[in-house]
Symmetry: C2
Subunit: 347 residues, 2 copies
């Protein structure tokens, strides 16, 4: 009989969970009527509606989400993966930058009625193939990222923070790296810097690559000798080593532009060990989203890559495409923001 406990499953299955039919039977109504009563649809008499609702409540009925989704044809779920940032599969969360990207992504998705599913950094197809994703956000994809290609092949629209033109279903947000770097260098130059040292991570990350190019171009235009120290990885420890090397040079820089994400107060401490005062002896600008930058003495000037804007714009682009069903690629450039504070402002 169809009323027998379903699924001769391997479990004891204490209470086989109340289904719509169970409520219907108990209430002496049909599935249809109960469904309509519970969803506020259809035209039912108040008495019947109330009776159905009451019965459902009494039995502790909860609709099966999966069944609804199957019917609805979408899950209102968006996948979220951070690529390339790969100390460990989830370490990106401890970076202020990604913390902001992640929370803003979740927030924006939510306001549009979508929930975010966290995907691991190294996710193969089978990690998400069983998830009913409507769309995906891929932060910092690699070039020809297989994850991206899989999503696209599955006709799951994506958004990434890397400009990609003309790929159907692929949307993007990006920043103008060159303008950002030049903005900082111009600012330092205006503050009196004659020799600007750059600390970056030796990474395939497009951000570093493009920023370095912009730096070299900017220096060349002025006949300024470039002065770069590349760490092998981002992070506090390596960054401090790089700063030490630069400041120990016989001809040390009078300004520092630190691209590799490091803790602002720690950078301050590192500089001070060399007996330098900021901003008098050295101008300093860091790329950082760490709010402590504003709380040190003096506060640290930072270049913000605007993770919140990137995430917000990206998700909106994505959802717009999703809900219009339009797979033509869209994209936007987001502005970076130079927060001028004490370490780069003299007098």
């Amino acid at each position: 009989m169809s009323t027998s406990p379903r699924g001769s499953g391997r479990r004891p299955a204490p209470v086989p969970r109340i289904r719509l039919v169970d409520v219907a039977r108990e209430a002496g109504l049909s599935k249809t009527t109960v469904s309509a009563a519970l969803n506020g649809t259809g035209r039912l008499s108040d008495a019947v509606r109330l009776h159905a609702q009451e019965t459902a409540r009494r039995l502790g009925y909860r609709p099966n989400a999966t069944a609804r989704l199957l019917r609805a044809g979408h899950a209102r779920l968006i996948g979220y993966a951070v690529r390339e940032y790969v100390a460990t599969p989830w370490s990106y969360m401890e970076s202020p930058y990604y913390a902001q990207v992640t929370s803003a992504t979740a927030q924006t998705a939510l306001t549009h009625g979508y929930a975010l599913v966290l995907l691991p950094t190294h996710s193969a197809r089978d990690e998400w193939a069983d998830l009913p994703l409507d769309a995906a956000v891929v932060a910092d994809p690699e070039t020809d990222d297989p994850l991206v290609e899989d999503f696209l092949a599955a006709r799951i629209p994506i958004v990434s923070d890397r400009r990609v033109e003309g790929v159907p279903g692929a949307h993007w947000v990006d920043i103008d790296h060159e303008a950002a770097v030049r903005g900082v260098l111009d600012h330092l130059e205006a503050g009196g810097a004659r020799r600007i040292g750059l600390v970056a991570a030796l990474s395939t990350s497009l951000f570093y690559v493009r920023a370095l190019e912009a730096y070299h171009a900017w220096c060349a235009e002025r006949g300024m000798r470039p002065l770069v120290d590349l760490t092998r990885m981002p992070g506090n420890h390596e960054t401090r080593g790089a700063i030490d090397r630069l400041l120990d040079l016989p001809d040390p820089p009078d300004a520092l532009f630190v691209l590799s994400e490091a803790s602002p107060p720690l950078i301050l401490e590192t500089v001070r060990r060399h007996g330098l005062r900021l901003p008098d002896d050295l101008l300093l600008v860091c790329v950082s989203e760490d709010p402590t930058a504003a709380q040190t003495d003096p506060p640290v000037t930072t270049l913000s890559l605007c993770p919140v804007e990137i995430a917000t714009v990206g998700v909106e682009l994505l959802i717009e495409a999703l809900e219009s069903g339009d797979r033509t690629s869209t994209g936007r450039i987001v502005e970076t923001r130079l927060e001028v504070r004490g370490t780069s402002r003299r007098g």
Copy 2:
């Protein structure tokens, strides 16, 4: 006809997505056979299997995740919400503590084949009722948290980091607050502290409440005069104000135990503005998961609340319960860890 494009949906619906039947028809086979071929189940001839697979590949077939889930009866999805930490709905991500809880939760879930869905801090039932959650992790629930009650009513097992005994479907991990606080105080006393000042946030959070109780009890046992400064909220700014007040006292403490999460290098800077050297003039222990604590000079002694262990144990408890179908409450106490570093070690 059943072959007509489904769903006279309001969208243009460019390519109505390939279904299993489409592949079957194209391959001249039945749904069953194609399904078996693709899933590696059943006993099929190699020729047929290959043909089915090839056809599926050629048409770009992707199984519908929702339909599979409906059949499977579970979604392998775990909801994740952080409560009570409520500057803004997602701000917890910027705290090192929660960053670690979150990533460890995701990691552990993943290794057991579950994905994590981010739920907003203030989520009402309708925010997740349509999500096919198998279980949920609720970090820092409030007392009688409605979210918890909703999950339980929906027969969705949960785990939280608050001890709760005997509630079916509710599992927990917790730390021994009293032992943790006493451990720190004993350590400071052994280092020569005669008067230990405490900085905590005025919060309903159980952690602060229990820690304060333990502190007062410990002081009473020794006839030591308690010295507490409560900030209204956790965070760097308020914490520094509290430290300033304590150190400006006519009879200032010779040791500080900072419970309210604040950036270790910033705390160091604050103390130094009072002309104090660490650890000679002042011993310092902070509750913090911030890795920069180990990188300052001197490095800062911290009490770690072990977010990674809490998350790992919690998720394992949860999944064990989930997969055994056993709703009897389980729980575990996790040890905290005192990382003794330069600011509390003299000589």
